[in-house]
Amino acid sequence: MSEVLLSATDLGVKRGNRWLIKGVDISLEAGQITTVIGPNGAGKSTLVRSLLNLIKTTSGDITTIKGLRIGYMPQKLKLEDTLPLTVARFLDLGRHKQHQLSPQLWHDLLHECRAEKLLNRPMQELSGGETQRILLLRALLRKPHLLVLDEPVQGVDVTGQVSLYNLIGQVRNILGCGILMVSHDLHLVMAATDQVICLNQHICCSGHPEQVSQDPAFTDLFGPQGAGNLALYNHQHNHHHTSHGDIIAGEHHEGCDHG
């Protein structure tokens, strides 16, 4: 078992009278990709933001290794048009004084993120997919022990999503960092994940993707449709979902995508 970078026990965040998340135990290891999935409003972003110390927690403890460097990729980047900022300058802002990438590694990552041609462009002119790649690159500049990605493929088209997930997998291999990722599209993430945490205020189930997909709690949470998509991905046809026309259409789509 590899080194535990960050672990939290009994994490809870309460706003007003409502618990956004409650009793969450989580442990993130070096070289492992952990994906948090769950329906909208399940508290995925709350969990991530509390682990990053961006919001106050109501209960629980978070322990990290000493000098843990985190690379964070926020959901969205909204830049004012009034700020003249090139991609290169934006990336510079994320550099760590002591922990810099070697020129070779920088070059590799620049290439992996297909960012060479973007460096002199103003940030505001990038497309959704380009912005996400640059955000990822910036998160990597600090040679992070842990990479935290909050819905990294938001606003990216389907082909872009696949390549972005591939890119994230590559990054793990290159840097050997642990990755915590939030997602609500189940099928795409599963293949590239070591550990899945299924969240709905509390942790419903967790473990290896296949294990989780068979868990009754998982089916309860996402319904036969979501679980069916996943089962399809694992080539285990699930018959619960064939009664609805729109779901069959989705099935086709998934089939094409996968084939």
């Binding site: 933001r49 990053l52 110390n53 961006l54 985190i70 964070y72 926020p74 980047l77 830049l79 004012e80 009034t82 700020l83 003249p84 900022l85 090139t86 300058r89 934006f90 802002l93 994320g94 760590h96 103003p122 910036r138 600090r142 935290v148």
Partner: protein, 264 residues
């Protein structure tokens, strides 16, 4: 050239130089209305300074800073929409300032001077204070430039990267408060924000980096001060508003340039 004109010009130039980079941050962080609120509160600071018989500039800085801290707490608590809150505090503090100033002996207070500035009344003593304040603000601004830029781009990203966001925000507000206290002499509390915002906004069209915009904003501000003073000298117009008129003219002139025109 008369001496008082020279002092006015030098004082104006120094404030414009600092207002460039600071105003750029206010434009990037959408703080225009916030600056207005602080500036209006400056009048309350003047009243308080007179009442307690302490240095007026010091009282202005303190009142501005207190209001800034109060504002950020209230905004954080989300009592009411931020622009409404700013609208309330801005005019409440302006009115409170006007009311308390009216309680003093009318002869001794130059209300118009506080409201619209009295650039031509700047003396050597004032000039020294302006120079000190401007140097201080500039030194601090340069030394925290990168972290300040980071929190302007994205506060959460900056915090995860280890920047103390709350402290940086407070520091920026403090710098704005100091500049308001000294710039009050030049354009008055009602027009201070324009000296910060307009040159920066005018510089945007020509700039391709934050530093370029800040520097250009300083130059444009200095040009506006020079032009405004000339206008005031030759046509006997009020100095503060003349500076703002020239700055606005520069803004509209530059924005009629084609979008593609940039310094590289």
């Amino acid at each position: 050239m008369a001496n008082f004109l020279l002092w006015a010009w030098l004082g104006g130039l120094m404030i414009a130089a600092v207002a460039g980079p600071l105003g750029s941050f206010m434009v990037w962080r959408r703080m225009a209305y916030f600056g207005d609120t602080l500036a209006h509160a400056a009048l309350l600071g003047v009243a308080l300074g007179l009442l307690l018989q302490v240095n007026i500039s010091l009282a202005v800085v303190l009142v501005c800073l207190l209001l800034a801290l109060l504002l950020s707490t209230l905004v954080h608590k989300r009592i009411i929409a931020t622009d409404t809150l700013l609208g309330i505090l801005s005019h409440a503090s302006l009115s409170l300032g006007l009311v308390s100033l009216s309680l003093f002996d009318h002869q001794s207070i130059d209300l118009m001077g506080f409201l619209f500035g009295d650039l031509l009344a700047i003396g050597q003593h004032d000039l020294l204070w302006i120079a000190l304040a401007c140097c201080l603000v500039l030194v601090i601004l340069v030394s925290i430039w990168t972290p300040l830029l980071s929190i302007t781009v994205n506060e959460e990203l900056a915090q995860v990267e280890g920047i103390n966001v709350a402290w940086m925000r407070t520091l920026l507000m403090l710098l704005v408060a100091v500049v308001i206290a000294v710039a009050m002499k030049v354009v008055g509390v009602l027009l201070i924000t324009s000296l910060l915002i307009i040159p920066a906004a005018a510089a945007r069209r020509l700039s391709s980096s934050p530093e370029q915009m800040a520097l250009l904003a300083s130059l444009l501000g200095m040009l506006a001060v020079t032009g405004g003073l000339a206008l005031s000298w030759f046509y006997d117009t009020p100095a503060g508003p003349s500076v703002v008129v020239i700055a606005s003219t520069l803004f509209f002139l530059l924005f009629s340039f084609p979008r593609s025109f940039r310094l590289s």
